[in-house]
Assembly symmetry: C2
Homo-oligomer: 134 residues x 2
DNA sequence: CCGCATCCTTCTTGATACTG
DNA sequence: CAGTATCAAGAAGGATGCGG
């Protein structure tokens, strides 16, 4: 299990066309990460459910090239997104929301509504807890 | 913004009764972490929606005292769980699932079903992707 | 344009010992 | 029993440079 290496960052996560996927591969973990749901959402509202890499990058505020690439690779690997590569010059790559990708977004609607309805109360609870403070 | 300290771990996250909450405080981030949903789930199926700290700890396989404490503190702060402290000897503490805690579990049902239905296909997609590559 | 490599920082989790 | 404190390690995210 390679317990040998000391505590530096891993910096695994890719190499060549077939990258090494994230160590944490649970579905919920992926949905909880910083960018994945945003990527799925942007694709779902795009015409033809497709967007170029650069379009995604400019629509998602604050994402870096590296993190967008990683998110897309993991989504592709899971079958939630399809990658279309056009070997032109300069190259063009489009990402398309797959059936399963649309499905998981629907499955998230209930949670989405709940959060919209309850976030104010959660934030109030946090304020109260913090004010009671140390 | 205190950029001074070099790249060692933070080890923030608590101190005294009022701990310092996780920096990432989005609801989805919390749900994506390793233990929170498990804790909510165990409480929801317990009689009276209540369990002692030690009961939770023994029911959730692999969780450490530290991580259980942190998960419960964050849930309490968000108003999803209520902490009942009994100053006996030895002390007893019970955690109760609050209304909002039950609500978020219901909101997660759709996602839960989706994952059950689609996990086999996701795993197959992962195998195919990994096999195709180097 | 798209994306990989490298380096670095921050966040999250774990192991262990100790206490009211 | 139910925590706190401390140390350590692993994983996620960001900045930047290079290349087909």
């Amino acid at each position: 299990m390679d317990k040998s290496r000391p505590g530096r960052p891993n910096d695994i996560a890719e190499s060549g066309r077939h990258f090494k996927p994230y160590p944490s591969n649970g579905v919920c973990t992926r949905l909880g990460d910083k960018w994945t749901v945003q990527v799925l959402w942007r694709l779902s509202v795009a015409p033809g459910r497709r967007l170029r890499f650069s379009a995604l990058k400019s629509e998602i505020d604050g994402i870096t090239q590296r993190m967008l690439t990683l998110a897309l690779r993991n989504l592709e690997r899971d079958g939630l997104v399809v990658r279309h590569y056009f070997p032109e010059v300069p190259p063009r790559v489009e990402y398309e929301l797959a059936e399963m990708g649309a499905g998981i977004l629907s499955a998230l609607e209930g949670l989405n509504f709940w959060i919209q309805d309850n976030l104010p109360r959660i934030e109030e609870s946090r304020r109260a807890y913090d004010d009671a403070g140390p």
